[in-house]
């Protein structure tokens, strides 16, 4: 049996930060992890992380893992054992693990358990078919082993993990047919959702999977709309042709080891299910055992790292008698600040159930926008949700972006100070910043779009400009490509000025003509052919092709059609007919007119 002052179980961000701090304070530490390399969830993450810039935000997950690992390997007080699966914790803090097929035992005066979480399952008909995976398994295959488990995916669950998985799959060249979400709103951050919406992935709210189809493996999925009791509504079933179904309906903490260590666990759904009871300093009901990270509450890497810090500092204090009060209190404040946004309500109420108060010194705010300067090359920030992120503010070399004390506040641009350097576009993990410069006289606008897909377009490339929903807007020619070492490149192209607020992605031209009018399923080809046949009046074009005549009344496609007409005829959009608006603005049932409501 080996003896240590502390043993850290699990080497995700929480465990790595914990081990680093323990080592830095001269505490002899053993770090155990079942995987061949340390890093936990981080190594699967190829996307840039959110969070506080001081905690590695805006770096990609595997890069964070690399940095943390460097800190650990340079510290002689920390011993790392990989491929070491902890099988049980026995009385007297005896940690038993299996390595190379052999049982090993280690004793620690204090234990830090950071085993993270596992994915929740979702039962449905044929969910045992090959081709149904957990989101994490797909990420492991794809990002760690370079294996693509399929080519056409459907994802269940619109939390951050589902959204990010969709993005990573598209980056890897796969097709994502849809994300289905049982609730009426997207679970994850809007910026993550926007990233994939503009790549054309529909997020179907109030939908669920009914069953997987296939003999030997998945060949499709039946999805349906659900009612407010989460029951599928008959008649709304639809079949999607997919070969892989990814389940991403949440994580639940891996509490077994902490239970064996005698820590009391309780069911607190807001925190992810059964979680060990602990205090503000991450100490469980067993005074020798501390926890941090997803095991304590399902959150994110930043909070896992801060918790790992708090837990390890408190452990150092108890083991060595050093006074680290100030440092600990400081980390607790940072954590409270981090959790003060609307996206952390659940965590806050879960913690309160445990008796932990959230003492944020300031509340997040929706910052007032500053007056825009049309015509100047500047950043456009599309980040309106209060999320814990401040990469843009920190990265701007000219102090042109303001968030303020609470990093959950929304960013605002000071166009006066913005030089158009593009640094923030490159740093933003939400890909929520774009560059824009209007040329009012010529009715054109230059837009710069962050681009992380392969292949990277080149100057002169003819492409399609797509809107926020991934629908075709107009043709473009790439004017400039700015490459960055962190692989978030910037692609510039000119578009008609009318589209400066809608174009948010450039897509390579596909063989199949894009659908312009979704209601009536009219393609670009049909519209162009009709114009080429001599129909150059918008109203006539509309009546012949039915474009804009569907239930949406052209809300979604009218401007795009006018753009096509403008390109073909040389008449500017503003000089083409706009038509008349007729009631109802949105379709209304006959039944609404049967009984009169409140006529005033």
């Amino acid at each position: 049996m080996k003896f240590y002052e502390t043993i850290v179980i699990g080497s995700g961000p929480a465990g790595m930060v914990g081990a680093t701090i323990l080592g830095q304070h001269g505490v002899k530490t053993l770090l155990l992890d079942e995987n061949d390399f340390i890093g936990g969830q981080l190594v699967k993450q190829t996307h840039k992380f959110f969070g506080d810039h001081a905690h590695y935000a805006s770096l990609r997950g595997f890069e964070i893992a690399q940095k943390l690992q460097d800190g650990i390997s340079s510290n002689s007080n920390v011993e790392v054992e990989n491929a070491a699966t902890v099988m049980g914790i026995y009385p007297n803090n005896t940690v038993t693990y299996i390595q190379n097929g052999k049982k090993c035992k280690a004793y620690g005066k204090k234990l830090l358990i950071t085993t993270g979480a596992m994915e929740k399952q979702l039962p449905f008909v044929n969910s045992d078919l090959p081709g149904v995976y957990g989101a994490g398994a797909i990420q492991t295959l794809m990002n760690e082993y370079g294996i693509m488990p399929g080519s056409r995916f459907m994802i269940i669950g619109s939390g951050n993990i589902g959204l990010i998985l969709a993005y990573q799959l598209i980056q890897a060249g796969a097709k994502v047919r849809a994300i289905v979400e049982a609730l009426g709103k997207i679970g994850g951050y809007a910026v993550h959702a926007n990233k994939i919406k503009r790549l054309g992935v529909p997020i179907l709210l109030n939908h669920t999977i009914v069953k997987a189809i296939g003999d030997k493996s998945v060949s499709g999925a039946v999805i349906a709309e659900i009612d407010d009791k989460f029951k599928p509504i008959t008649g709304t079933e639809r079949e999607l042709v997919v070969d892989t179904i990814a389940i991403s309906v949440g994580l639940t903490p891996l509490t077994e080891l902490s239970e064996q260590a005698g820590c009391k666990v309780e069911f607190i759904p807001e925190l992810g299910g059964y979680v060990p009871i602990r205090n503000e300093r991450m100490k469980t009901t067993n005074p020798d055992v501390f926890i941090a990270g997803d095991l304590a509450s399902i959150e994110e890497a930043t909070t896992a790292m801060i918790e790992g810090k708090i837990a390890s500092l408190e452990m150092v204090q108890e083991l060595t008698g050093k006074d680290l009060e100030k440092e600990i209190e400081n980390e607790i404040t940072i954590l409270a600040l981090f959790r003060s946004g609307p996206k952390s309500v659940k965590i806050r109420s879960g913690l309160e159930k445990m008796g932990i108060k959230n003492l944020a010194i300031s509340k997040p705010r929706i910052n007032e926008p500053k007056e825009d300067i049309v015509g100047k090359l500047r950043a456009v920030l599309e980040c309106d949700e209060e999320i814990p992120c401040n990469s843009c503010e920190v990265s701007c070399p000219f102090g042109a972006i303001y968030i303020g004390e609470n990093l959950n506040s929304t960013p605002v641009l000071d166009p006066d100070k913005c030089t158009g350097c593009g640094t923030c576009v490159n740093a933003c993990p939400g890909l929520a910043i774009f560059m824009l410069k209007e040329d009012v006289e010529n009715r054109m606008a230059l837009v710069g779009i962050p681009y992380e897909l392969l292949p990277l377009p080149v100057k002169g490339q003819k492409m399609w400009a797509m809107n926020k929903n991934g629908d075709y807007v107009c043709d473009v020619t790439v004017e400039r490509v700015v490459k960055y070492p962190n692989k978030t490149h910037l692609v510039y192209a000119k578009i008609p000025i009318e589209f400066s607020q809608s174009v948010r992605h450039f897509s390579f031209i596909k063989k199949e003509s894009p659908i312009i009018c979704r209601c009536e399923e009219v393609t670009l080809d049909e519209i162009e052919n009709t114009i080429d046949s001599g129909i150059t009046d918008f109203e006539e074009l509309k009546r012949l092709t039915r474009v804009t005549m569907g239930p949406c009344g052209g809300k979604n496609c009218k401007l795009v059609v006018l753009g096509i007409l403008s390109r073909k005829t040389g008449v500017s959009i503003s000089n083409l007919s706009q038509g008349t608006s007729r009631p109802p603005v949105k379709p209304v049932e006959f039944s609404a007119f049967l009984k009169c409501g409140d006529d005033k």
Partner: protein, 380 residues
């Protein structure tokens, strides 16, 4: 725009373009058409698209029957699919008196060679089980009545005439007709002057105004008719259904949407193209009553257009007496779309031969109003 036209047609609606098509077919060169807005901007683009032969006046029956013949060949003759569909027309009666009138109409229509039959509520129910026939005592059924997409038909004519060399000018309004010594010498448009000795007034809702340009007081006026369209569903309703008593017409387009309308109690006069909420309030209960499946159907859009109405609600197709070569084809009320192929043919023949040949339309002349006025009854 050409500077010297053999014929100038004012109005690019279904009537004007049909006339131009037939003139070009007869070999007339240098035809100019002026449309102040886009093709199908007038009543044609706003109409219900019904094609009915069951009328109370023999003239209307004949014209409509000739039109149906031409509509059947539309794709071959004009070159475009206009969603023409012979789904029939079902007219509903609610009293013995109304049924009695239907009976005598059917007799006349049969004499004209139209196949129409009287139907009992049981027979209607059998054909259209989804209808609620409360208080219906019977009806008439003409299987060869039909419907089509009027906007596409109008644009199809426009494309065809351009192909045939007609000088079609959209977004060009005629401001005046230049008459010297009782002879037409040209027309003034907002884009220039054209010399011509023949003008055809096919200005739809503006027929009276265009009449005044030649100092003619054409007895037509315009009033607003409202109409709505629903979302598309699977095809269930084959015919156009009309209830004069309840004041509605409804049909399902080939695209799956339902188009329906009524006559307002006090229709707005002139070319008022607004819309009223009362229209929806009045339509909804009767439609949901007679077609219960519509309860949860969504209304997608409402709009309106002008009926251009003569004293007997029948068209006026004639040549002016006091001015040479001023022809008018106006006052088509709620049935100008369906009559357009035959009317266009007749007018073209009047221009070329001095009188209509294929069909005698002489009793649609202006002089008839000097006698007793006998109105077309079966109108919504």
């Amino acid at each position: 725009m050409i500077s010297n036209a053999s014929v100038v047609i004012i109005g690019g609606g279904i009537i004007g373009t049909s006339i131009a098509f037939n003139l070009a077919k007869l070999g007339v060169k240098d035809i100019s058409v002026f449309e102040k807005s886009y093709i199908s901007s007038g009543s044609t683009g706003r109409c219900g698209g019904g094609i009915r032969q069951q009328w109370t006046s023999p003239m209307n029956v004949r014209l409509a029957m000739r039109s149906v013949e031409l509509f059947r060949r539309f794709r071959e003759d004009i070159g475009m699919d206009i969603e023409y569909h012979e789904g029939g027309y079902l007219l509903l009666a609610y009293s013995d008196e109304e049924m009695g009138e239907f009976e005598s109409n059917v007799k006349m229509q049969n004499q004209e060679g139209l196949s129409v039959q009287l139907v009992s509520p049981g027979e209607i129910k059998e054909k259209f089980p989804f209808m609620n026939l409360e208080r219906v005592v019977g009806g008439t059924w003409c299987p060869s009545d039909s419907h089509a997409n009027p906007q596409i038909a109008n644009i199809a004519y426009a494309i065809a005439i351009k192909r045939m060399g007609v000088d079609l000018n959209t977004h060009t309004a005629v401001d005046g007709i230049d008459i010297q010594n009782g002879e037409i010498v040209g027309v003034q448009t907002d884009k220039g002057y054209v010399k011509t000795n023949t003008v055809i007034n096919a200005a739809g809702g503006f027929s009276h105004e265009v009449g005044l340009m030649a100092n003619m007081d054409i007895p037509t006026h315009s009033e607003r008719h409202q109409i709505l369209v629903t979302e598309s569903i699977n095809h269930v309703l084959e015919p156009m259904v009309i209830s004069f008593k309840k004041n509605y017409y409804v049909r399902q387009t080939m695209h799956g949407s339902f188009v329906m309308g009524q006559s307002d109690k006090k229709p707005a006069q002139g070319n008022d193209l607004g819309h009223s909420v009362e229209f929806l309030e009045e339509m909804a209960p009767k439609m949901v009553h007679d077609f219960p499946f519509m309860t949860h159907l969504h209304i997608v859009r409402q709009w309106s257009g002008a009926y251009n109405i003569s004293p007997d609600a029948q068209p006026i197709i004639d040549t002016a007496e006091s001015i040479s070569r001023y022809i008018f084809a106006v006052g088509f009320s709620g049935h100008g779309f369906m009559l357009a192929p035959a009317a266009g043919e007749a007018v073209a023949e009047m221009v070329v031969y001095g009188r209509s040949k294929t069909m005698d339309v002489s009793n649609l002349n202006m002089r008839r109003f000097k006698r007793q006025i006998k109105s077309e009854k079966n109108v919504v």
